[in-house]
Symmetry: C2
């Protein structure tokens, strides 16, 4: 597969004809709590393998462990970068991305610099994303906008900057801000850069109905820790 | 002054005889929101200078700006490291500390690896703190426990590990977790490592009564964004 093995599924999915396999492949199973232990990360990998999701999304200190566990599977390791505040020095985000890829990450979810975006320093925001894309050497890069802090104009500009910088996805939220993904934001992001870039919905996706609403709006990836609930709800809805 | 210019005030302060100057010197004025712009950082520096607090506590991307603004003052720049999740790769916390000091930080507030602590990997936790202390080259290092995730045993062990690793302060919270500083935690931390190490209370300190309760319990630093409220309450209480 090109580009480090990630699949570029960014065309809108049809909810009416969605398959179980497609649903699973929208999910980045998130295990991001600061208190997550190695035991919990291993459990997360088991869930990711069981349901054959797209990736497991973890903090950088667990990338190598996950890469070891998942090495003979289709499940990718997705590392968060500059997470969750996005207010690190650009050189550190770049170094963190580089390190994560060396440790085995095939995907990188980076938080853009929200403060710089809000004050209109687009050059700063764009160049920082570019550096992470370059450091990723082919890894799939998703740019987290942290939409809860942005107005509509800022959301649109952020999507454009992500595209100009060569990123592959825009993503709504870290899950650590005051609010998560909203259907309206997914629609706006898809209208702005889809399907050239993919759209990932994350934060507050707790069940199948949330998941389907996001897919309907244009999301092709979902960041969630409710993978089991979503997949079991799917099975019981379709096969009962 | 030794150790990069920070004052080692770690003996318990007497609330009954506390002066305005002493109170101000307990405060690390925090401007840590991901959405903080340069304008807001400059305002934060003005507040820090006006009240002559100990330090301004900022995300790494703003360390250089603050160091420029505060270069002819007594107010230190305090950079957060591995913030707020503490789940970065150790090598990245070290590099981030190094970079922050190069940018002008005299103090470093690092988040320990909560997951590693909880699973009892004390060697990992200790060595990571040691690396940040070394990278700090004399900077005052405060270790954030993120107490809201820890039981009493874990809090005690974390304090001991911070001391063994050569850190100078233990600190309760990032302000981004589900709970902030509690008087009982300050007492426990002071009993465990005070006054050899200082204790910093942070998260949820919104006024003078919170501040004094923490000082009474053994805190000699307070992380707060309510600096103006606290200092104005002090003045109106003492000089009205």
């Amino acid at each position: 597969m090109p580009n480090g093995g990630w699949e570029r599924v960014i065309q809108k999915l049809e909810v009416s004809s969605l398959t179980e396999k497609q649903l699973a492949k929208t999910i980045d199973h998130a295990v991001l709590k600061p208190s997550s232990t190695e035991v919990e990360i291993r459990e997360g990998c088991s869930i990711a393998l069981k349901y054959k999701v797209a990736a497991i999304c973890v903090n950088p200190c667990y990338v190598r462990l996950c890469a070891d566990i998942l090495k003979n599977s289709e499940v990718k390791v997705d590392a968060v970068i500059g997470f969750p505040l996005g207010a690190n020095a650009p050189v550190m985000k770049k170094a963190e991305a580089q390190r994560a890829v060396e440790d085995g990450a095939a995907e990188l979810d980076m938080v853009l610099n929200v403060g710089a975006l809000k004050e209109g320093d687009y050059k700063y925001v764009r160049e920082e994303i570019q550096q992470v894309v370059e450091a990723g050497r082919g890894a799939l890069v998703k740019v987290i906008l942290e939409t809860c802090y942005l107005n509509e104009h800022e959301k649109i500009e952020a999507c454009k900057l992500a595209e100009e910088a060569g990123a592959h996805y825009v993503k709504t939220s870290t899950g650590f801000g005051p609010e998560g993904a909203k259907v309206e934001d997914i629609k706006l992001m898809y209208r702005t850069v889809g399907p050239r870039l993919g759209v990932k919905a994350s934060g507050g996706i707790r069940g199948l109905s949330d998941a389907l609403a996001m897919i309907e709006a244009g999301a092709t990836r979902l960041g969630t820790s409710a993978t089991q609930t979503i997949m079991e709800d799917w099975v019981s809805r379709n096969y009962k």
